[in-house]
């Protein structure tokens, strides 16, 4: 298969090479700052040629990121980043294409492009800033806002069942899904790096804190006090252990996941599930994606499948060599043509 490679940089690059001189206009304390930092770090680590990074976004606080990165960038219109990025990647498989988008941008107005991107498996990474709110428009509920939440447009509480991005990605034939918190910079960079190496669409749900309109929305999961007990950091091939002392673990019971404690009720390491991010079978990944306590973090799923752009390049290569017609003039002159 004619997989186009993304060229690597000749010189080593650092995080600072990737930060632009533009003023960062997020609120002080916004999760965006840390995310930006991790992105720049990841770009340096992944090591592609600086000119070959392409950051595409929609509209929202989260979509401001192209301005802050010293790469090629496209600040699109609301919800359409995935579609814009698809066109870019199809024309230029040699670019490392990234999308930054919000829960509104990608799950509300952009929901369709999002699921189709995932299904087509173009080699694009989406940074999904999930702050469970419309930030830029000042605090309306989004498709990921928990049921019952009071916001500007739901003064009596929302009455909508929220999407779980991980479940939606799996339901759309996703090949890569990861989840990470905006206050875990190391894990963010790790997950972003993994996505940069994945051939196919990679969705990273970042639990982002919007200090202004949905402050502490993820606090149970991300706050320093409670996170050890509420986050399960997944690593491929490692048992699913968590807790401050790594004594709690996940066991499969029928088709449900249950939390057990090592040493209690005869539970041993043997009983604990070992994470396999590469298994094709999505059932376990689904169970992980929807698990509420603890919440699964890290790369939940990463499986190989042909990408759209590779298949397309392959068709072109095959046709180009096998087909007698090599120019538009040939096309026009084939078939029922006659001289006068």
């Amino acid at each position: 298969m004619s997989t186009t490679q993304i060229p690597l940089s000749n010189t080593p690059l650092t995080k600072d090479d990737f930060l632009s001189d533009q003023m960062v206009k997020w609120c002080p304390g916004c999760g965006g700052h840390a995310i930006l930092n991790s992105v720049a770090q990841t770009f340096a680590r992944a090591g592609f040629r600086q000119e070959n990074y392409m950051m595409v976004s929609g509209i929202g606080c989260s979509s401001r990121i192209p301005y802050y990165l010293n790469t090629y960038g496209f600040h699109g219109i609301h919800g359409r980043a995935a579609a814009i990025a698809s066109g870019i990647k199809i024309v230029r498989p040699d670019l490392s294409v990234w999308v930054s988008s919000g829960d509104g941008d990608s799950m509300a107005i952009g929901g369709n492009h999002f699921i189709h991107l995932v299904r087509r498996n173009l080699d694009i990474t989406v940074l999904l800033f999930n702050n469970q709110i419309y930030g830029l428009t000042k605090g309306q509920y989004s498709p990921t806002t928990p049921m019952g939440k009071i916001t500007k447009t739901s003064p009596f509480g929302t009455i909508e069942h929220p999407f779980n991005p991980g479940e939606l990605v799996l339901g759309s034939q996703g090949t890569f899904f990861a989840r990470v918190a905006d206050n875990s910079p190391k894990q963010m960079t790790e997950v972003m790096y993994a996505a940069s190496q994945h051939k196919g669409t990679a969705i990273i749900e970042i639990l982002e804190n919007c200090v202004i309109f949905a402050d502490k929305a993820h606090a149970r999961i991300t706050s320093r006090e409670t996170r050890d007990d509420n986050q399960l950091w997944l690593e491929h091939g490692k048992p699913m252990l968590f807790g401050a002392e790594m004594k709690k673990g996940i066991r499969l019971n029928g088709t449900t996941l249950e939390v057990v404690t090592l040493g209690e009720n005869g539970v041993t390491l043997q009983d604990i599930l070992v994470h396999d991010q590469h298994t094709d079978d999505p059932a376990l990944h689904l169970l992980l994606a929807e698990m509420k306590a603890p919440v699964a973090m890290g790369v939940l799923r990463s499986v190989e499948a042909p990408t759209y752009e590779d298949l397309l390049e392959e068709q072109i290569a095959t046709q180009h060599t096998s087909h007698p017609v090599q120019s538009i003039e040939d096309v026009m002159n084939s078939g029922d043509v006659f001289d006068i």
Binding site: P66, A83, I84, L95, N112, I316, V331, I340
Partner: protein
């Protein structure tokens, strides 16, 4: 019997009509090919029902194909036909009103023996008995019976045999018009090569029709349409939508850029997507998007990434693309948006043609949002119009909306195949790597065009987007005077395209007092009307507009020359209103038709005459 006289004709219009499954589209196409090969000029138009397989024997289920061939220039598929092939009663019912008095009507009598079919077609009396066919030259042929006879020894099932009825009809036609069976036999051989029995059956049906005609008493003479005196060259018959696709590929070759199409299927534009998707061998990348918005947005991405980017659609799809067209306007990226217009509003009449998307093309976006608008004049002109749209878009870094319509998009015409090197070279304003002075919104002082820096190019990293930006640097800005400046610059940039397009030409009789104006797909009909008017002693001038936004530089001067201006269009008066706003002070009259049908030459003639007198 074959010693009958041959009558020489200048032109003839033939209509093939039958049930959706009767293969009339193919019959018509093959007849056209035979005529084309014999050197006739021609124009065709298919006319099929909205349903895939509409209920059999109903008027709404009739599928038709009209061919106009001539030894003189053929400009339309014809108002009225001289010959009708009607495979069943519904076809006769649906079409008779458009027959010329004295037309030859070839009827499949087997179908007319079917009481139910007559009833379904809405006949209360039998058309053979109620004098409704008196003023026509009727040729009756028991087509079904005869093809069964002709193929009896092949052992095929009746269903397969019945599928050859269209070849029998074609055989009759080819005889009547003194065409050979060669090109059709070649087609049959190619198509049924792997099914020799079906090939044989079709050939026999074709021949049986030919012989039947030869033996026919009713046929007093046959006809001959001589080759048209066309300039030397290679020719073919081409469908408008295919010509559009080819024009775009040609533009990609002449600009040295890869071609990208992002599109969502919609009648009658889908055939452009279908044609382009065939050409992987040429590196053409087609992306069948999840909807129209993704279609255009992927194209905008592709454009940023350095491709000649296209999106194709029809009216409802253009509505959906409105917001994204604004993004292409403000990011000043090249993009060709082809709108093959159909009858609206809303879903409207998807298989019928109209020119009613002009307003939307000119004005259908939020904010002050000008972009180029062009219109193709005929099936063959789709090639040149698409090429030109791409050229202007690339050279001026602006989206172009190219309007064609269902009539010219599905219709076909004789097309002289151009040599690519005879087409103009296209020079997109690509920025040079490591140009340290590069600014994304710095402009050529003459044309106001910005430079295009493609991702991957060293030293030109930059960002674009849908927010207002400063001129030059392109930094996001809400400064009031900068906004005014950018609004003005974007408008001027589009206006300056007038310097890169030809002046408006006049046809007909430019010295007349009266100017007829048309635009887009009505060229054939209006220009035929102008010719007829001239012949009947009512000379008028004719300006047919291809370039709409901006209008050619000399538009104002031309309009000023005439006392009467009649703008003819297939909508409620959109172009005339556009002229009223851009060129006030002239006395515009208008002639409009909004019926999902093309202009008839005769109605144009009649109307113009009535206005002049």
């Amino acid at each position: 019997m074959s010693k009958r006289t041959i009558i020489e004709l200048d032109r003839v219009v033939v209509k093939f009509a039958g049930d959706s499954g009767d293969g009339m589209q193919l019959t018509g196409t093959l007849f056209s090919e035979a005529a084309a090969k014999a050197g006739n000029d021609l124009s065709t138009f298919p006319d099929y029902p909205a349903e895939i397989r509409a209920p059999q024997n109903t008027v709404s289920g009739v599928s038709g194909f009209q061919v106009h061939i001539g030894r003189k220039k053929v400009m339309t598929s014809g108002d009225h036909f001289d010959v009708l092939v009607a495979m069943n009663p519904a076809s006769l019912k649906a079409n008779l009103k458009m027959a010329r008095k004295g037309a030859t009507i070839i009827l499949n009598t087997d179908a007319f023996a079917d009481e139910k079919a007559l009833e379904k077609a809405g006949y209360t009396t039998h058309p053979f008995e109620d004098n409704s066919l008196n003023s026509f030259n009727v040729i009756k042929a028991p087509v079904q019976t005869l093809v069964r006879e002709a193929t009896a020894d092949l052992g095929l099932d009746p269903k397969s045999v019945d599928k050859t009825r269209n070849m029998f009809a074609l055989g009759i036609l080819l005889f009547i018009f003194n065409k050979t069976l060669d090109s059709t036999n070649e087609y049959i051989q190619a198509k049924f090569g792997k099914k020799p029995l079906m090939a044989e059956a079709n050939k026999r049906a074709l021949e049986a029709g030919y012989i039947y005609a030869d033996n026919m008493e009713a046929l007093e003479s046959t006809f001959h349409v001589d080759a048209a005196p066309l300039p030397k060259g290679k020719y073919r018959n081409v469908i408008g939508n295919v010509a559009t696709a080819w024009g775009l590929i040609a533009a990609a070759e002449r600009s040295g850029l890869p071609l990208f199409l992002g599109s969502y299927p919609i009648t009658p534009a889908t055939d452009i997507l279908i044609e382009l998707s065939q050409h992987r061998a040429l590196g053409v990348k087609t992306f069948q998007a999840e909807d129209e918005i993704a279609g255009i947005c992927s194209a905008i991405g592709a454009s940023y990434a350095g491709a000649l980017a296209i999106t194709t659609t029809s009216g409802p799809g253009l509505s959906l693309k409105s917001e994204a067209i604004g993004l292409a306007v403000i990011t000043e990226l090249p993009l060709v948006i082809v709108d093959v217009q159909r009858a609206g509003p809303s879903t409207g009449m998807p298989t019928k043609s109209e020119q009613s998307d002009l307003y939307q093309a000119l004005f259908g976006r939020n904010g002050e949002c000008p972009c180029l608008v062009m219109a193709a004049s005929s099936p063959a002109d789709c090639f040149y119009a698409a090429f030109e749209a791409a050229r202007l878009s690339l050279e001026h870094m602006t989206p172009v909306i190219l309007l064609t319509d269902g009539y010219i998009g599905n219709g076909s015409q004789l097309f002289r195949i151009p040599r690519i090197k005879d087409l103009p070279e296209i020079h997109p304003p690509l920025a040079q790597a490591n140009d340290t002075s590069y600014q994304p919104f710095a402009r050529d002082p003459q044309t106001l065009v910005r430079k295009w820096a493609v991702p991957g190019t060293e030293g030109l990293r930059h960002r674009v987007g849908g927010l207002e930006k400063t001129d030059g640097a392109g930094a996001v800005s809400t400064d009031p005077l900068n906004h005014q400046k950018m609004v003005d610059l974007r408008a001027q940039k589009v206006a300056k395209v007038a310097d890169n397009i030809p002046e408006q030409t006049l046809e007909g009789h430019p010295e007349s007092d009266t100017l007829i104006i048309s635009w887009g797909g009505t060229y054939g009909a209006v220009s035929s009307a102008v010719t007829q008017l001239q012949q009947s002693g009512t000379p008028v001038a004719h300006a047919h507009f291809r370039y709409i936004m901006p209008l050619p530089r000399n538009t104002s001067e031309i309009l000023g020359r005439y006392k009467k201006i009649i703008v003819c269009e297939l909508n409620g008066g959109q172009f005339v209103n556009y002229l009223r706003m851009t060129h006030p002070g002239h006395n515009y009259a208008q002639f409009n038709k909004v019926q999902g049908q093309p202009f008839l030459v005769e109605e144009l003639v009649a109307h113009i005459q009535s206005v002049i007198q």
